[in-house]
């Protein structure tokens, strides 16, 4: 049962073939069996999940009208607040903190009757591309436990690939949903900025962060997208418009006559060979399905990474200032005679990891007087240029595509000591966040040289998320035909797996 899609599980629930309680328990059992090795979860809310599941079963039995995903279990990235449940953001500084309020994403999940199994591992405060920056130890890629699951949302994507949950929520600032999806062979979407409320999403880079749906199929992802998206009066940057019709688009999967643009600067030149191969094959499949493949150029994309690594650290240096040991989180050094200032300094030194400290200092510098124009100010201009590149490209085509990231999953520890090498993982995903448009990654095969998953990225103009889903669904269907079975059926079995 745990290997089914959420849609299949929902059908089973609707037909009475199983209960949410049984479904939830099955997933809890799987977590118990494999998470020792995978370490996708930081906290499993056994009691809470079973209570939620029981409540949905009761409502269903009483004949109440339920949402399409009611009773289906889900893994929640530990960067979103859930009332009364530990939220750490992968950091020591929030160890033990139980928020007194729900994020809007969680409110929406609860309203849809989705059962939240627990909180998943992540790079500390969403900073990283491998989940190695978690203060609680890395997550291991279910395809090969010696490898990274991507980041910052490695826990959520690994949970999907390990069948610990059919649905997951991630957040994406520079690729943190899409890149883990790519290296774990799952689907992940970053909606248009403002499409999903950020209220309760612990901020890393406020003008880039966005929560999004993750699952094993495009349709599951679409259903989850509609469950969490929508305007929120508590988030002044949320879009005040109806949620795009992504489920309908995922069901149609029609690309006939659609113009698909390959971005020259992100076409796979210099990427791992297998990544390039799978990407090109997918283009052929889409062409065979009736799409027109054209080439476009976005010349300012070469500055995207540099601009990102100025904007995101700058905003985070300010966003993370609140972690000062005064109102929540850990407190270190509060001995007799200690001052508030020394307690703050010591707590932040001990509570933050290396990458977080690096970015805070970088951001502090980029914003400081005398340097603002050269760094943060200039980066914000590059953002305008990237947005303009996208606008020009979208005049010529309906969606843009690229490989999601340059390589398949690398070994844990391989890039940990070279920050710049690590940052390059996001080279294809970052432009999407800079412009605030939507981006999806779906699996397009295994790289021949290492047998590891490769991701295909689809980008749609702002507020046109549904286009990603039609193209994604079309490609997924074509690949399914080619493979005969979903890609994840090829994943090596995890010891103890149900």
């Amino acid at each position: 049962m745990i290997r089914k899609s959420a849609v299949e599980m929902a059908a089973a629930l609707a037909k009475g073939e199983t209960t949410s309680l049984a479904l939830t328990q099955a997933h809890l059992d799987q977590i118990a069996a494999v998470d020792g090795a995978v370490h996708a979860f930081l906290y499993v809310d056994t009691e809470g999940a079973l209570a939620q599941a029981g409540a949905i079963d009761k409502a269903r039995a009483a004949g109440e009208k339920l949402s399409p995903l009611a009773g289906i279990p889900l893994a929640l990235k530990d960067v979103l607040t859930q009332k009364g449940v530990p939220t750490t953001c992968g950091s020591k500084i929030l160890e033990g903190w139980r928020p007194p309020y729900d994020s809007t994403v969680v409110t929406n999940l609860k309203r849809a009757g989705i059962v939240i199994l627990g909180k998943t591992n992540m790079d500390e405060f969403a900073m990283g591309s491998s989940t190695e920056n978690s203060a609680y130890g890395p997550t291991h890629n279910p395809w090969d436990l010696t490898r990274i699951p991507g980041g910052s949302g490695g826990g959520s994507s690994a949970a999907l690939a390990a069948f610990e949950a059919p649905l997951a929520i991630g957040t994406d600032t520079g690729g943190s949903i899409r890149q883990p999806a790519a290296v774990t062979g799952t689907v992940g979407v970053k909606p248009t900025y403002g499409g999903v409320s950020r209220y309760g999403l612990v901020a890393f880079s406020s003008s880039l962060d966005q929560a999004g749906p993750c699952a094993r199929t495009v349709l599951d992802t679409a259903l989850l997208h509609e469950a969490i998206a929508g305007h929120d009066v508590r988030d002044a940057t949320s879009i005040n418009a109806p949620v795009p019709q992504v489920v309908a688009a995922a069901k149609s999967g029609d690309v006939k006559g659609l113009k698909i643009g390959v971005i020259k600067e992100l076409n796979g030149d210099g990427y791992q060979a297998g990544v390039r191969t799978r990407f090109d094959e997918s283009l052929q499949l889409l062409a065979a399905a009736g799409a027109e493949i054209i080439e476009v150029s976005c010349p300012n994309f070469e500055y995207a990474l540099a601009a990102y690594y100025l904007i995101a650290p700058s905003e985070c240096s300010s966003n993370l200032a609140r972690f000062d040991a005064m109102r929540y989180g850990i407190r270190v050094g509060d001995e007799a005679g200690a001052s508030a200032e020394s307690v703050m300094n010591l707590t932040r030194e001990v509570g933050f990891g290396r990458e977080v400290k690096r970015r805070i200092i970088l951001g502090t510098y980029a914003l400081s007087s005398g340097y603002y124009d050269a760094y943060y100010g200039s980066a914000q201009k590059v953002r305008t240029l990237i947005t303009q590149d996208f606008i020009r490209a979208f005049e010529k085509c309906d969606v843009l595509v690229s490989p999601t990231c340059p390589t398949t999953a690398f070994k844990i520890g391989e890039k940990a000591s070279d920050p710049l090498a690590m940052y390059l993982n996001d080279i294809a995903t970052i432009p999407v966040n800079m412009a605030g448009i939507g981006g999806m990654s779906l699996p397009c095969g295994l790289a021949p040289e290492d047998g590891l998953p490769v991701g295909f990225q689809i980008m749609a103009p702002a507020m046109q998320d549904q286009r990603m889903y039609s193209v994604g669904a079309a490609l997924e269907a074509a690949l399914l035909s080619k493979w005969g079975a979903p890609l994840l059926s090829q994943i090596p079995a995890l010891a103890g797996s149900k």
Partner: protein, 502 residues
């Protein structure tokens, strides 16, 4: 070296001022969240994830705060920016939950205004124009209690306790351009400016503007330069200026302090100082030379403010009368001499007198009651005039009753006391205490005869032309009538009775 006198300061130096006034808006909810702004809540019961700066919380702008700020800008003759943004001012302090304050930086909502203030000079009343640099919005901080030290102040405290009920209260900051050319009237100009601001803000109804309560706060910047020199001197900023009088004293004090330093050849430190009510002097605070780099950048969680031009014009059309103009108009309508006008303004009694006049009372009478008897009671109880439990409608009623002859002045005073004591409206007090002016001449004559019979020698004295002696007899009549006779009428009748024609 003997201390410098004020005159000596002015002989050598020219003061330059800069005034920053913070106003607490009287919105019902906070600037960026829906927590109530009501006073006096139990600690940390008026907070939420947003104003506590919890992880994941987001601000959303209070619409009424925008409107109030625009009104303030319009009333101060500012231009309203067609496009303005919020910015983060980054620094660490335990009373600031996010360790940044959401404020406005290079794109404030109102710019380039002015206020004309009137001061009394040796040459008579003069008007001085204070130019306004900007008006912008920001949020207030929480309040700290420092525990363990001797004075409850931060020095020597062992630890502090934080209450965030006031964190996030909407503040408007009004910043003047530098104010040169005030000469010896610098303290008066500053005081008049703050007073005028207060009156304007009160007339707009956007704030309680009570300096003692902190809803109007003034920071005074002072520097001196040698007369005739262009270059500005180093300035000091004085905080904790909690009353109009303190504004005046603080500036005068700083001018003298700066001069004493400069005369000795020492430098003035650029720093923040705290005004001390008891001594009238300032105490050194945080040195501004080590001021933090605030690393301002646009607040990414909020979107720009672009007020609709038509809306701004509607607000402009609805602006209340300028306080200065209103004062001139009332003074002329009521024919009030300058000194009395000034007294009324100083006693903050203008609104209450106007309200009484609007209810039909004669202006002179209304003034005299409010500034006389009622002020006396207010002073006795050490409360403000407006805090006494007696309203314009009561005073108007009393004035009317006196005019109709239903009350004497003496009785009126007792009625006022009754109202203030909570016995009810004037009519209720009169009924309860049985006040009724004895108007009936025959009743008065009866009492007069009683009095003359009681003191025949005194009566004879009056008959003989010794009129002042009548006072004793009038006293007896008043006693007889329980003070409810009109003393003037009694005198008339008494004198007539004793053979004098009036």
């Amino acid at each position: 070296m003997s201390p410098v006198t004020y005159d000596e300061v002015l002989a050598k130096y020219e003061p330059v001022l800069g005034l920053e006034v913070h106003v607490e808006l009287n919105t019902k909810s906070k600037m960026f969240c829906g927590c109530t702004t009501e006073f006096g809540g139990a600690p940390n019961t008026q907070t939420c994830p947003v104003c506590l700066g919890m992880p994941g919380a987001l601000p959303v702008v209070n619409e009424k705060a925008i409107e109030s700020t625009i009104l303030i800008g319009l009333a101060l003759n500012c231009s309203i920016a067609p496009f303005s943004r919020f910015a983060r001012k980054n620094y660490f302090y335990p009373d600031m939950p996010k360790n940044f304050q959401i404020s406005q930086y290079d794109e404030p909502i109102c710019v380039n205004g002015y206020v004309d203030v009137a001061i009394d000079t040796d040459e008579g009343p003069q008007t001085f124009r204070v130019e306004i640099e900007r008006v912008h919005m920001e949020e207030d901080t929480g309040k700290s209690l420092h525990v363990g030290g001797a004075t409850g102040r931060i020095h020597g405290a062992d630890y502090s306790l934080l209450d965030y009920n006031r964190a996030g209260i909407p503040l408007v900051e009004i910043v003047t351009k530098i104010i040169p050319g005030t000469g010896k009237y610098a303290p008066e100009v500053a005081k008049a400016y703050v007073a005028e601001l207060r009156d304007i803000l009160r007339s707009l109804g956007v704030s309680d503007v009570r300096m003692e309560q902190g809803s109007l706060r003034c920071d005074a910047n002072v520097s001196l330069r040698l007369i005739g020199v262009e270059t500005l001197g180093t300035r000091s900023e004085t905080k904790n200026v909690n009353s109009l009088r303190s504004v005046e004293r603080a500036i005068r004090g700083e001018m003298i302090r700066h001069a004493e330093l400069l005369n000795k050849g020492e430098k003035v430190k650029q720093e923040t100082r705290h005004f001390q009510e008891d001594t009238g002097l300032t105490r050194s605070g945080r040195s501004k030379e080590q001021a933090e780099d605030y690393r301002y950048f646009q607040e990414p969680d909020l979107v720009p403010v672009a007020p609709d031009a038509a809306w701004i014009e509607t607000l402009r059309a609805g602006l209340p009368e300028q306080p200065t103009l209103r004062r001139k108009r009332l003074q002329s309508e009521w024919s009030v001499p300058d000194k009395e006008m000034a007294a009324m303004i100083n006693a903050d009694a203008l609104d209450i007198v106007e309200a009484t006049v609007k209810l039909g009372a004669d202006p002179a009478k209304a003034r005299s009651w409010w500034l006389g008897e009622i002020s006396r009671l207010a002073n006795e109880r050490e409360v403000a005039l407006t805090d006494l439990p007696i309203a314009p409608v009561d005073v108007a009623a009393i004035v009317a009753l006196i005019a109709e002859g239903e009350l004497t002045d003496k009785l009126a005073r007792q009625v006022i006391e009754g109202v203030v004591a909570g016995e009810g409206t004037p009519a209720q007090v009169i009924a309860a205490r049985g006040f009724k002016v004895v108007n009936d001449d025959s009743a008065l004559l009866a009492a007069i005869e009683v009095a003359c019979a009681a003191q025949p020698e005194t009566a004879q004295k009056v008959r003989d032309g010794h009129l002042p002696a009548a006072g004793a007899l009038i006293g007896i009549v008043m006693k007889e009538t329980k003070g409810q006779a009109d003393a003037a009428r009694v005198r008339e009748l008494l004198l007539q009775h004793l053979g004098h024609t009036i």
